[in-house]
C-alpha cells in the first residue's frame, strides 16, 4: 500500500499511501505544538496518577500522595457549611421559641431548617408536605390539633412524642375500646355514632341520636366534653368539626369506638438536638395551621398533668 504514496496534484500535498476504492487521504501533518501539547498532557496525567487516587486495585484504588478522597472532601464541605450556619443556629438556640415569629428573618431560617429536618425524620408518616395519611397519621397542615397548635405545644409533642412507652413526659391518652371490651353493645355504639354525626353536622337529629346523646354524656363527655368540643390537655379530638383523623363516616366512627387505634409517635428530644426540634416546631407551625399561643391561664389549669403545655 505504502508504495502508492504520491503527490496530489491539486493540493501539492503527498497522500498517506492508502487507497479505498479510489479515495485517497492527504497526509497533512499536525503542527508540532500539537505534539508538545500531547506530551504535556502525558506529564500532567503522570503527576495526576501519583498525586490522586488512580489505579483500581482489588479492594480499593491507589491512595495518591495528596491523600485526597471524595468522602474527605464531603466532610470538609459539610464542616465548612456547619461553620457558615453556626451564627444562625446559635441565634435560633438563644431565642425563646415563642419570640421567633417576631423576628421574620430568624423565623424564616428556622422554618427552612425545620423543613430539611422534616424531610429526613417526619415524612415517613406525615408525608412530604405534612398532610399525613388518611385514617393513619394526622395532617399537620390543617387547623385542627389534638395536642395544640401553638409553637410550644408543637415543640413539646415533637420532643416527647405520643404514647411513648417508658417515657413519663410523653403525650398520652387512652380511649377505651368500648366495643371490644363490651362496655357498649353494638346498638348502643350505633346510637353514639348517630349522635356524633349529628353534632358534626353530618346527619339530622333522630331518635337514635337522642339515645346516643345520653350514652355520650355518660361515657364520652369526660374526655371529649359535653358538647364534643374535645380537650387538648388529654389529646381528645374535637368531634364537631369536619376534620377526622380516622374517618367521620358511620363505618369509620363505629370502628373507632369498637377499637380505637391510639396511634404512636416517636419522641425526638433525645435523638435530635434542641435547635433542630425548635426548627421542626416552627416548620410545622408554618404549614398553615399554626395557632397563637393561648392566653396565659391559671397555672393549675394552663398546663397538663405533667407540665405539658
Amino acid at each position: 500500500m505504502a508504495d502508492k504514496k504520491r503527490i496530489d496534484e491539486a493540493t501539492g500535498t503527498s497522500t498517506v499511501g492508502h487507497e479505498w476504492d479510489g479515495i485517497e487521504e492527504l497526509n497533512t501533518p499536525l503542527p508540532r505544538w500539537w505534539l508538545w501539547t500531547f506530551y504535556a498532557s502525558i506529564v500532567w496525567a503522570a503527576g495526576y496518577v501519583v498525586l490522586y487516587p488512580a489505579w483500581p486495585m482489588l479492594n480499593s484504588a491507589t491512595q495518591g500522595m495528596l491523600g485526597w478522597t471524595s468522602r474527605g472532601a464531603l466532610d470538609r464541605e459539610m464542616q465548612a457549611h456547619a461553620e457558615r450556619r453556626a451564627p444562625i443556629t446559635s441565634a435560633i438556640a438563644a431565642t425563646p421559641l415563642t419570640d421567633l415569629p417576631a423576628k421574620p428573618e430568624l423565623m424564616q431560617a428556622a422554618v427552612q431548617g425545620g423543613a430539611a429536618a422534616f424531610r429526613v425524620h417526619c415524612v415517613q408518616c406525615h408525608g412530604a408536605g405534612g398532610a399525613g395519611v388518611k385514617k393513619l397519621y394526622p395532617s399537620l397542615t390543617d387547623d385542627d390539633w389534638l395536642w395544640g397548635g401553638d409553637l410550644a405545644s408543637i415543640e413539646y409533642t415533637i420532643a416527647h412524642g405520643v404514647r411513648n412507652p417508658d417515657h413519663k413526659a410523653t403525650r398520652v391518652s387512652q380511649m377505651p375500646a368500648f366495643g371490644r371490651d363490651g362496655i357498649l353493645d353494638a346498638a348502643q355504639i350505633a346510637d353514639v355514632v348517630s349522635h356524633v354525626r349529628v353534632i358534626s353536622g353530618q346527619e339530622k337529629p333522630s331518635a337514635a341520636a337522642a339515645r346516643g346523646e345520653v350514652l355520650f354524656q355518660a361515657n364520652c363527655a369526660v374526655c371529649h366534653g359535653a358538647t364534643g368540643a374535645g380537650d387538648r390537655t388529654v389529646g381528645a379530638p374535637k368531634l364537631t368539626d369536619a376534620v377526622w383523623l380516622y374517618g367521620g363516616d358511620r363505618d369509620s366512627l363505629t370502628a373507632t369506638i369498637v377499637q380505637p387505634r391510639n396511634g404512636v409517635m416517636p419522641r425526638w428530644g433525645h435523638r435530635l438536638d434542641p435547635v433542630t426540634v425548635k426548627m421542626l416546631a416552627t416548620y410545622v407551625y408554618s404549614l398553615g395551621g399554626g395557632e397563637k399561643a393561648p392566653a396565659p391561664a391559671p397555672t393549675s389549669e394552663g398546663q397538663g398533668a405533667d407540665g405539658q403545655p
Partner: protein, 485 residues
C-alpha cells in the same frame, strides 16, 4: 522548515514546525483602517467597564455589568434578569447572523479586522517591530546567536507582552464586578480567588495566543474559517491576486527589455513580507488568508512606485475575477454588497433586533408566578372550608421599593392570607411590600367553601399600588376533595 503545503517524499515529517512570520511594516488605507478598528475595539474592551450609569440607590452604577452573584445583567438602561435570558440568546443569534451577513458580503472581514485574535496579534506584532525592528532585523535576531543584545531584547519584548496580557486579563474581570472597587480589592489582595484565577488564565492565554501561537490559532484551532467557507459564494469579496494581470512575473528591467512579455507583478514579494499569517496570496484563495488586506496596501505602494495602476491585489469576487479575466469590467462594490442574500440576512438580523427592542419596551417590571402546592393539594379545615396553599414569586424588576396588591378572581368566598397573617384576618386581597430589584416569595393561603368542583381554575393577579397600576396575573387551580371522600 517543512510547511504543510510542501511535503514531499518518503521522509516527510509527521509534524510540521511553525514557520516564523515576521510581517513587514506597511502603510496604506487598509492599514490605517485597521489602526482605527484596533483603537476602537481595544478602547471598547478596556474602557467599557469604567463607564458609570446612575440607576439610583438600589442598583449598581456601572453601565455594563454582568452581576453573576446576583444574577443580573446590566447594559446601560437595560437590565436583564435570569428569566429574560432569551434577550442574551437573541443577541447571540444576532451576532451569528451578523457574521453570516458580513461573511456573505465582504468575506472574512471579521477575521481580518475585528477578531480579538487578529487585533491582539496585530498589537503584539507592533511590539515586535518596536523592540526588534522591522522584518529583516527580526529575522536576523531570530536566527542569530543568543547574544546579550538578543537576550535583553527578548526580555523587554516578553515583558511588554506580559504587561499587555495582564492588562487584557485584568480588564475582563471588570465586567463582572464594580470596576473601581474590584481594582482596589485586586491590588490589596481582597478580591475573590476566582478573580485572580481568571486574570491568571487570561493573561496566560493572551500571552501565548497573541505572542506565540498567532496565525496557528486561525489555521489550526479556529472553527470559523471552516464555517465561513460554507457561507461564502462567488459574489463574496475576497482578497484576490489578479493573476491574469500579474502573470508572468518579471522585474521592471525585464519588462522594459521585453515589452508585452510580462505581467504587472514584479515579483518583489512585498505582499508576502507584510502578511501577518505568512502566506503568499498569489497562490490563490486559501484558509490561511484572513483578508486583512495588508497585501493590497503593500502592492498598491509598489505599483505606484513603478508607475502601474493600483489593484493588482484587490478585493474582488469570484464572479468579477472571471469577468475581468475575460476582459470585462467587474461590478461596482455597492452592487456586490446589495444583493438578495445579504439583504435577506440583514432583514432577519434587523427584524430580531427590532423585535427585541420592542419587547424590551413592552415588558412589565412586575411579574407574578404562582405555584400551587401539591403536597397536600388541599387541606380540610375544621369548619368545612377547604384551604389550598400557593407560593407566589413576585418579581419587582424596578430599582425602587414597591407596594402591590394581590387579589383573586373567579373563586367564590375566597379568603386570602399569608404567613404574616392568619385566617382571622383574611380578606379579599392582601398588600405586600416588595424590596427593590428582587424576588419576594410569599406563601399564600386561600380558603374557600368546601362545596364546589373538585378542581376549578381561577385567577391570581397582582398590580402596583404606587402610581403604576400595571401588573401580572396567573391562572391556577383550586382543588377540593373528591365527592366520595
Amino acid at each position: 522548515m517543512a510547511s504543510p503545503d510542501d511535503l514531499t517524499g518518503e521522509n516527510a515529517p509527521l509534524y510540521a514546525a511553525r514557520k516564523g512570520v515576521y510581517p513587514k511594516k506597511v502603510d496604506g488605507p487598509f492599514r490605517r483602517f485597521k489602526w482605527a478598528i484596533m483603537g476602537i475595539t481595544l478602547a471598547i474592551y478596556y474602557g467599557t467597564p469604567w463607564i458609570r450609569w446612575d440607576r439610583g440607590a438600589y442598583a449598581p452604577d456601572q453601565a455594563v455589568l454582568v452581576d453573576l452573584a446576583n444574577r443580573r445583567f446590566y447594559m446601560f438602561q437595560i437590565e436583564i434578569w435570569p428569566h429574560e435570558f432569551y434577550y442574551v440568546a437573541g443577541l447571540l443569534i444576532m451576532a451569528g447572523i451578523g457574521l453570516f451577513l458580513v461573511t456573505s458580503a465582504v468575506g472574512r472581514a471579521w477575521c481580518g479586522y475585528a477578531c480579538p485574535q487578529t487585533v491582539w496579534t496585530d498589537l503584539f506584532q507592533h511590539v515586535d517591530r518596536l523592540v526588534d525592528g522591522d522584518r529583516n532585523a527580526q529575522i536576523r535576531l531570530a536566527n542569530g546567536p543568543w547574544t546579550f543584545e538578543k537576550i535583553s531584547k527578548r526580555a523587554i519584548k516578553y515583558l511588554i507582552y506580559l504587561t499587555i496580557a495582564f492588562w487584557t486579563g485584568g480588564a475582563w474581570i471588570m465586567y463582572f464586578a464594580d470596576a473601581p472597587t474590584l481594582t482596589a480589592d485586586f491590588w490589596t489582595g481582597q478580591a475573590a480567588p476566582i478573580a485572580y484565577a481568571t486574570v491568571a488564565v487570561l493573561t496566560a492565554t493572551t500571552f501565548i495566543l497573541g505572542g506565540f501561537m498567532r496565525e496557528q490559532v486561525c489555521i489550526y484551532m479556529c472553527p470559523w474559517p471552516r464555517i465561513q467557507t460554507a457561507m461564502m459564494d462567488e459574489k463574496s469579496l475576497l482578497v484576490t491576486y489578479k493573476d491574469w494581470r500579474g502573470e508572468p512575473r518579471g522585474s521592471v528591467k525585464k519588462a522594459e527589455a521585453h515589452p508585452g512579455a510580462f505581467g504587472d507583478c514584479i515579483d518583489c514579494n512585498h505582499c508576502v513580507a507584510v502578511c501577518p499569517t505568512g502566506i503568499d496570496i498569489r497562490e490563490g484563495p486559501q484558509i490561511g488568508c484572513i483578508t486583512c488586506a495588508l497585501c493590497i496596501d503593500a502592492c498598491d505602494g509598489v505599483m505606484k512606485q513603478v508607475g502601474r495602476p493600483r489593484g493588482l491585489i484587490d478585493y474582488c469576487t469570484l464572479d468579477d475575477a472571471a469577468t475581468e479575466k475575460a476582459g470585462g469590467v467587474g461590478k461596482p462594490v455597492m452592487k456586490t454588497l446589495l444583493r438578495p442574500r445579504t439583504l435577506i440576512y440583514f432583514g432577519i438580523w434587523s427584524a430580531i433586533g427590532a423585535a427585541m427592542l420592542f419587547s424590551l419596551g413592552q415588558r412589565t417590571r412586575l411579574d407574578l408566578a404562582v405555584q400551587h402546592e401539591r403536597s397536600p393539594l388541599y387541606v380540610q379545615l375544621s369548619d368545612g372550608h377547604i384551604r389550598n396553599n400557593y407560593t407566589l414569586k413576585l418579581r419587582n424588576m424596578e430599582t425602587r421599593p414597591r407596594r402591590v396588591a394581590v387579589t383573586v378572581d373567579g373563586l367564590k368566598g375566597a379568603a386570602l392570607w399569608t404567613e404574616a397573617g392568619s385566617r382571622e384576618t383574611a380578606g379579599q386581597r392582601i398588600e405586600i411590600a416588595l424590596a427593590p430589584d428582587s424576588v419576594t416569595r410569599v406563601k399564600l393561603f386561600i380558603a374557600a367553601p368546601g362545596d364546589g368542583p373538585a378542581r376549578q381554575d381561577f385567577t391570581i393577579a397582582t398590580r402596583g399600588l404606587d402610581g403604576d397600576p400595571r401588573g401580572d396575573s396567573d391562572i391556577i387551580q383550586f382543588d377540593r376533595p373528591e365527592a366520595d371522600q
